[in-house]
Symmetry: C2
Subunit: 497 residues, 2 copies
């Protein structure tokens, strides 16, 4: 065993180093590299990527993992056992999928991006359809290679993104959404809309002041500046590699004050999760968030449950007025609270409000099920998309750019990813409620005591890194299995006020 452990750890060290540099490349590429630099850097990236793949597919390394897995009971350290289980599961791709198919799939995805961009720009699904068909077919083949006794079909993909969540679990979850949320949304969106000052809705908000407010938010959320970077990019994202190095981006629009604010808060939720991982996971494969759903629960809790709360703006609105005295002159924090919590039927997921967001996800979930089960032809997808949107969100797209062409995910090969977005919001509500049993969260927010919230989340979620499954985390943090009722109740309470 000793030699397997040392082979494993030696290779892990190198893989982590290569992953660090590939991560740095992606960060630089997305935030800073000059436009034409890819003409040189892509080559360099490819070479290191290949070296990393060689390490990961090294026979001796794979043998070590398999031996450790077979003799997992002999391992003393509990964390190490979990790590070996995770890594062993990850081996499937390398072992079960023929190398040429694996590489061909990678190539296909590389080519898919510009095709999707063109189709979206030209608002023409027929440009994208042949590529999307190839991606769906490749995923169906992938599924076949990876199926086990327990996991079949779409479940194989769902499980990749959220351990323990398959069609059965998601169907249950979304049935609650359909029964409870769909009619509620219909009711809310029918209500008469509040009118807001034109200064707020049509005002100009200089970027320099928005930047200053983002910096202020980093202080408010006690996001440790010595382990953080805040930058701007086209689409906001979080990119961390270590608890000592977490980086986020936001995007500033001069004519939209709230966009950068809630992006910054959202990404801080992701970043603080990884920042607060136990340091013992630093040089292992257990550093990070345990799943996309749990990750999203942290960002959504920060963004919506804290960042869009009444208590938050009662406390921090004066700072915003200080930075934008003219624009916010006639607007009180109560107005502002209502302004940032409006709900309306919309067509674009990333612009959807908190209340309607999961309905957009539901549309994608039902489509993906049909796609992977071979129950729908690619050419029929736009029509189906539009009818599901009408059914669940109550609004029909007038073209494919605002319909099926809006998301990049499938062009990335990410099928089974979307459902975690909705799940994250539901997790967030359940975790928030549990925290609220220990102390009054609203009072903490009002007192600007985010430290207390961070400490609670560290203790009950963050510190575990990837050493617990999403289901385990939920049990640790809430003492209960997943229950979407918290989410429904939270939304009903907030949007009935």
């Amino acid at each position: 065993m000793k030699e397997y452990i040392s082979k494993y750890k030696d290779t892990r060290k190198k893989i982590l180093s290569y992953e660090y540099f590939l991560w740095l490349y992606e960060w630089d590429y997305a935030t800073e590299a000059p436009k034409e630099s890819n003409q040189y850097s892509e080559n360099q990236f490819e070479i290191l990527y290949e070296e990393a793949y060689k390490l990961e597919s090294d026979e001796k390394y794979i043998e070590a993992i398999e031996k450790l897995y077979e003799n997992i009971d002999q391992l003393e350290d509990e964390d190490f056992k979990v790590e070996i289980k995770r890594v062993h599961k990850g081996l499937r791709m390398i072992k079960k999928v023929p190398k040429d198919e694996y590489l061909a799939y990678g190539l296909l995805l590389q080519q898919a991006m510009p095709v999707w961009v063109e189709a979206k720009t030209k608002n023409d699904f027929s440009i994208y359809a042949p590529t999307l068909k190839k991606i769906i077919d490749a995923n169906r083949k992938l599924v076949k290679y990876l199926e086990t006794d327990d996991l079949k079909g779409y479940d194989v993909l769902l499980d990749m993104y959220e351990d323990g969540f398959g069609i059965k679990e998601y169907d249950e979850f979304f049935s609650v959404i359909k029964e409870e949320l769909v009619p509620f949304v219909l009711e809310v969106t029918k209500r008469k809309k509040q009118k807001f000052s034109r200064k707020l809705t049509k005002g100009k908000f200089p970027v320099a002041q928005q930047e200053a407010f983002s910096k202020y938010l980093m202080e408010v959320f006690e996001y440790d500046q010595n382990r953080a970077v805040l930058k701007e990019s086209e689409h906001p994202f979080t990119s961390g590699v270590s608890s000592f190095d977490t980086r986020i981006t936001t995007h500033y629009y001069e004519d939209n004050l709230q966009s950068s604010i809630f992006s910054t808060i959202h990404e801080m939720g992701h970043a603080i999760y990884e920042l607060q991982n136990d340091l013992k996971y630093e040089d292992t494969f257990l550093h990070g968030g345990t799943s996309l759903g749990i990750h999203e629960s942290q960002s959504r809790m920060f963004e919506n449950m804290i960042g869009r709360s009444f208590a938050f703006w009662e406390r921090h609105y004066p700072k915003l007025v200080e930075l934008f005295p003219k624009q916010l002159k006639d607007t009180s924090y109560v107005d502002f609270y209502h302004y940032i919590n409006q709900s309306k039927k919309s067509l674009i997921r990333i612009e959807a409000d908190e209340l309607t967001y999961s309905l957009h996800v539901l549309v994608r979930y039902e489509l993906e099920k049909l796609m992977i089960n071979g129950k729908i032809k690619v050419e029929d997808l736009p029509k189906k998309w539009n009818s599901l949107m009408t059914k669940y969100v109550g609004k029909r797209p007038t073209n494919d750019a605002e319909g099926i062409l809006q998301d990049v995910h499938w062009a990335h090969g990410s099928i089974g990813y979307f459902p975690t977005y909705a799940l994250g919001s539901a997790y967030a509500a359940q975790i928030y409620e549990s925290m609220n049993q220990d102390f009054n969260v609203e009072v903490a927010v009002k007192n600007n005591d985010i430290a207390r919230i961070n400490a609670w989340l560290k203790e009950h979620v963050h510190k575990y890194g990837m050493s617990k499954t999403p289901k385990e985390i939920l049990l640790i943090a809430t003492n209960k299995p997943f229950d979407p009722t918290y989410y429904i109740n939270y939304l009903k309470k907030k949007f009935n006020q």
Copy 2:
């Protein structure tokens, strides 16, 4: 030969990739990485660094280089011959220096930095002396390993930084400096000083406007935005990896308008040199500047001969006034020109003006000669420094922080580097004069036609990358061997006006 060529090129490809990532790390580290991130990233760096070293010291790779070098006449491509010669020369370190001594030296340098910082901060040379002694001793040993029939002693080190320049060449150069420049400086610095508006000398210049002017300068110098990054760092520097990716930094001081301006222009001189390399050198070891001296000639020409010229400010001063209308209200471009071209005796090299700069370098050159020849004890260095400063610059340091402790170079192990700074200015004057024979450079500057200057430099200097030696570049660009008279004449003309 074929197999050696392919072994060489295969390994080169990987080394270039690793170098790219190590470069990206350094850039990120100096400009963006969070303060504590090194607690994770240093490990990752070390691992990739070791992998790169393994590649460079791979026996088969070294064998390929040696075989190609032995049979260099059989190689058809002239550039490839030059590359093999350069790489073969670079092998000396790996072949002649015992590995443990080489690694121990690396470790010594790693430890030296914080020691130097502490000594400088505490203004106490005795803290630094034992470390400096070790560095000097290690360099003297290094010299012994690397000596050849043609290169002995200090020449071994000088040659590393400037091919073809040893004690003989530098002694000749500096004797002209001593004879012509030292008395001239004495004369100039005795003259009555012009008084400038307090708004200019004591004014506040907000960073945002300085940033705007730096961006304006990038346009003026036609520094291609699609291949450039401009950022801020503690000490300005240029860091390029490809003609498609050149990056510079500057530093903004609210109470000093000229610092960021001339840093930006200086670094653009370096960056445009590499940006204008022939693209055929991209994936070879011939991309970059051929030597430190030639590199510095480009940055100094931009900074001093163009950036501090009368014509330049006649043209661009209105833009500066537009950004700083209050601060520059009473100051004309003529005043400003004189303000940025003042000359005075100073103690700190990096704050020295154009006229006195090379005298600071002379002090270091004479000290290094003594150090490497074993003609001076470490404890006597501060005294010698001070007496040389008095002799050449005409001003005596009152403590070691403003004396021998001011520069980081020796703590980096860079002995033999300083002289290239002075050489660069002298090269610049000679190259400028040659360009001026082809077209009136001042008129081009006044007409804001920097494109013409860049095109000339590309054709006569930049495009060659590292495929020519400094001496060859000078012959190509000026049709003459190196002649410091151009430099002296340029300075006399400018500072006699």
